[in-house]
Symmetry: C2
Subunit: 199 residues, 2 copies
């Protein structure tokens, strides 16, 4: 039913890798196909033979990034005991810290793409909202499991913190947005749990 792991040809792999790098660092519209071809050591023809259009290449870029982000997040959460969902809730911020530090210094690729793509009918829109919805769903489940007083409100608050951390980290104007955001998350989670003993 679903595409399992679309094996890419060597050239296609290089193309997607180069495009991802350029798109993320310079913006989607700022990067031309010629530049991608050059960076990938490939001709423009090959790009269009493999991906068909710039729009599909954009979609693949976001899809792959989303996959990597989810994997990283789940890896971190797996190291936290199932018996402490409130610790998992906080651990999402540890995953975010690592992600933002290593691979996300220029802000959220999905939010950036969202603001760059004017057209709400663009095929990338589903990937973008999908990425956010996934995290919302994840936080919501953990908030429920942790027995939060108002799981939906807690989810919204933590989402605000997640996105705020990503943005503030990217502009590098605040001392330690990652640490500050995580500290705020601790305070917020603790305030939302009836059992004050957490952490």
């Amino acid at each position: 039913m679903s595409e399992p792991q679309e094996q890419l040809t060597p050239a296609a792999e290089r193309i997607l890798e180069a495009a991802s790098d350029l798109f993320y660092w310079h913006g989607i519209r700022a990067v031309g196909m010629e530049a991608i071809a050059k960076a990938a050591g490939v001709t423009k023809k090959t790009i269009f033979d493999r991906f068909g259009s710039k729009d599909t290449l954009i979609v693949e870029y976001l899809r792959r990034r989303d996959r990597r982000w989810r994997r990283r997040m789940l890896e971190v959460l797996d190291q936290v005991s199932e018996e402490h969902p409130e610790h998992k809730l906080l651990a999402t911020f540890d995953a975010l810290s690592a992600w933002v530090r290593d691979e996300n210094p220029r802000g959220c690729a999905f939010i950036n793409a969202y603001s760059e793509i004017g057209d709400r009918e663009h095929p990338a829109m589903d990937v973008i909202t999908g990425q956010k919805q996934w995290l919302i769903g994840l936080l919501r489940e953990l908030a429920d499991a942790a027995g939060a007083r108002d799981p939906e409100a807690l989810t919204s608050k933590l989402m605000v913190l997640h996105e705020g951390i990503t943005v503030m980290n990217s502009i590098q104007l605040s001392a330690d947005p990652i640490g500050a955001g995580r500290d705020a998350a601790v305070t917020v989670i603790r305030a939302e749990l009836p059992d004050a003993s957490a952490f």
Copy 2:
């Protein structure tokens, strides 16, 4: 010394107004000069006669928006007594709520521009960082005045919330990011003040 209120010609006024609208809603790179001319009921020549280049027009767009944002923020803060800096701290979120609701539904214009402009030498960069620095400075002063235990940390936390609210509001995937963010701010501010009686 400084340009006080650069009186614009009627056409220039319409140009800047039209450009601001288009830039904000469709993105800077997505909007061409021809489209701006059409929307302003003006010829392209007039645009270049008045503004010289697209880059300067972008800078003016951001400058004007920054001015309006600061004015709105200060108006709200002025209605809060000087004797309660912690209430002013919270009031920045009321100002943000109104701003985000009426004039900022597509995310922060400055962050959007930041992600769209690849070139870190672009003249708009100063306006962008200036806008953020201003809010950081404002929050920092209020945090000091409120006697926060760690004013710098509190500033960072509140900045994270400000930016997170703006982003989450723009993607419209979370129930009430404005309310949730404000609630989180209350919790965070209270936790940072030695005097627990606040609010």
